[in-house]
Amino acid sequence: MAVMRYREALNQALREEMHRDEAVFLMGEDIGVFQGAFKVTAGLLEEFGERRVRDTPISENTIVGAGVGAAMVGLRPVVELMTINFSLLAMDQVINHAAHIRYMFGGQVKVPLVVRMPQGAGHQLGPTHSHCLEAMYLQVPGLLVAVPSTPGDAKGLLKAAIRDDNPVIFIEHEYLYGQRGEVTDGDDGVMRFGEAAVRRQGSDVTIVGISRMAITAERAAQAMADEHGLEAEVIDPRTLRPLDLDTILASVRRTNRCVVVEEGWPHGGVGANLAALVQEQAFDHLDAPVARVTGADLPMPYSKPLEDIAYPHEAQVVDAVRATFGDA
């Protein structure tokens, strides 16, 4: 065990997997000489050389597509996109190709590709650099989707993603890069996709937090315990595909209340999806409608005070939880 930052944990995962398997290599914009826009790949060019750490032109669709092609013939590419917003330029390769190739070719070929990218608001980057789009990828059959919120999960899930034979959308968060946490050494830290983490145990309400919002949910839960005597169970699904619905349902069946917290948009969001699944599977256990706390339904504004009220904080989570008890 060691304490390190989220970005260092990711860096360690990449380094260890590249040492373990010659087929693993990195491609992305400014990941080499510049060491990554968020310094996740710092030192890797020096250690592994240009063959395995490849700076690319700004051509997102083609970078991802080249990763798909290389993966189809046996390599394990890890493609970094500078932010999730830029991944929209690569949607054709992600959905029409990476996600569908195995199925549409009758299972003849695997696509062991990882596409890493950060998301999230808070740095005054306006409408083209600040959004959380995990719900878009969650929708696509054929993809695995990871949304790690701690350094330990970041490392464990990235190692698992690289070893997995499916295409993985690996969504990091800009706010989280500097956060510290405990990280397991070496192969002991490889995690499994589809296993949620219960961050905090409680019997009054289940709060599901996605990506950075798992941290926000945990803080809100602590505040509620201190100020309102409410004990919330906080669940971080960690991966959205596969989804550990069983852990969420087991919790909701005990607490009879569920609040989903995400930074992305409300329409067709992760919370909308989870609300549907929970009511389908545990309707008789619910004492209140499933509540959602989401980012504002608009392009992210630049101005600091506007940006600050356009994505969720602890107070909104507390309010949403209290509303499930009929408290205004």
Binding site: A70, V73, Q108, D244
Partner: protein, 400 residues
């Protein structure tokens, strides 16, 4: 229309490109015949509603397929487009597996999951036909990158149509391939129409061989109606890719004798133009050349064609005998289900009791599927009813 394609008759001069060894020459002719007869039969099967969706035939383009792909080694890679039945056949995929794919059967080369636009044969290194115009270019670069990464001397032939040069992936991939010196050959099969839009109406620069120059990719043109010339041109490009890590853009000028797809009234070109190009039929021209060169007797030429037709007969028999994919296999191969992961990958919301899609294999089919509907659809697809319009036909009528 650009000068190079204005008058096909100007290019009717006897090919001066050398013939291969007699056995190879006969094999080229026979494979072109197989593709032609296969495509004709596929068209008939489409008219009989044995085949659904869209069907893009390569009739007229056989020399680009055989000339280009015979320049490949067995361990090289080929990747192409939605007009790719011929690419599967030329790589050796059994015609029955290709026809069964068109029929949507379990015995299809993609188990009926891909259909006409999505052929694939990993064993023969045919890395797929793709339904998105230009979508295969980045994949081709990635395959070439893997060959380079593994320090092999394998090359990749990446085939696309003239419409694809206007996609962003063309410029992006050309730049990447030249920048990284990837062992790849880009081959634009210029049949002079992007669907129904003529070359000079979709491209400001119609001299397509020049379209890679700004990215550092030199271009070369060949007569795509001449199998020997196409072979020679692609062979040299593959050599440069393999030995010098120098990508080339090969423009093969050709013409499709049939519409873009079967649902194409061909109102964008004249019958005279089609007839003019038909006089340069690559199979007729090459067959006659072989006879004149003494490589082939006339009766042997007829026999090769008859054998191709018989092979297609057997392909249809195989496809007809192959079952439709079982309903229990609906969720097969969405994911590689390994030891690494567990949980809800796919969710089946179509039946009562929401459950994991991947669990369906362990469940009784009647519990999760509308088997009446499945059986009715299978019966309809299995019957040869010429009166019944296919969904794709209806889609175009609705749009019109």
């Amino acid at each position: 229309m650009a000068d190079h394609s204005a008058s096909p008759t100007q290019q009717q001069d006897r090919s001066e490109h050398p013939l291969p060894e007699p056995d190879a020459a006969r094999e080229w002719l026979r494979t072109m015949m197989l593709i032609r007869r296969f495509e004709e039969r596929a068209g008939e099967m489409y008219a009989k509603a044995k085949i659904g969706g869209f069907l893009h035939l390569a009739i007229g383009e056989e020399a680009t397929i055989v000339g280009g792909c015979r320049a490949l080694r067995d361990d090289d890679y080929l990747i192409s487009t939605y007009r790719s039945h011929g690419h599967a056949l030329v790589r050796g995929t059994p015609p029955g597996a290709v026809m069964a794919e068109l029929f949507g059967r379990e015995g299809g080369c993609c188990r009926g999951r891909g259909g006409s636009m999505h052929m694939f044969d990993l064993q023969r290194r045919f890395m797929g036909g793709y339904g998105i115009v230009g979508g295969n270019l980045p994949l081709g670069a990635g395959i070439a990158l893997a060959c380079e990464y593994r320090e092999t001397d394998r090359a990749t032939l990446c085939v696309f149509g003239d419409g694809a040069v206007n996609q962003g992936t063309f410029g992006e991939t050309a730049n990447l391939a030249a920048l990284w010196q990837l062992p790849i050959v880009f081959m634009v099969t210029n049949n002079q129409f992007g669907m129904g839009t003529a070359l000079e109406r979709h491209s400001a620069v119609t001299d397509l061989m020049r379209r890679g120059e700004g990215f550092g990719i030199p271009g070369v043109r060949c007569d795509g109606m001449d199998v020997a010339e196409t072979y020679e041109t692609v062979s040299e490009a593959l050599r440069a890719a393999r030995e010098e890590r120098r990508p080339t853009l090969v423009e093969a000028i050709t013409y499709r004798f049939r519409g873009h797809s079967m649902a194409d009234p061909e109102e964008y070109r004249t019958k005279e133009q089609v007839e003019e190009w038909r006089r340069r039929d690559p199979i007729e021209v090459f067959g006659s050349r072989l006879v004149e060169a003494g490589v082939l007797e006339e009766d042997e030429r007829s026999r090769l064609d008859r054998e191709a037709t018989e092979e297609v007969d057997r392909a249809v028999e195989f496809a007809d005998a192959s079952p439709f994919p079982a309903p229990e296999s609906l969720y097969d191969d969405v994911y590689v289900l390994g030891d690494q992961v567990s949980g809800w990958y796919a969710i089946d919301e179509r039946s009562p009791g929401v459950h994991k899609g991947e669990d369906e294999r362990g469940m009784a089919a009647e519990d999760v599927h509308d088997l009446d509907r499945y059986r009715q659809a299978a019966a309809r697809a299995d019957s040869a009813d010429e009166a019944e319009p296919r969904p794709a036909d209806r889609a175009q009528e609705d749009e019109g």
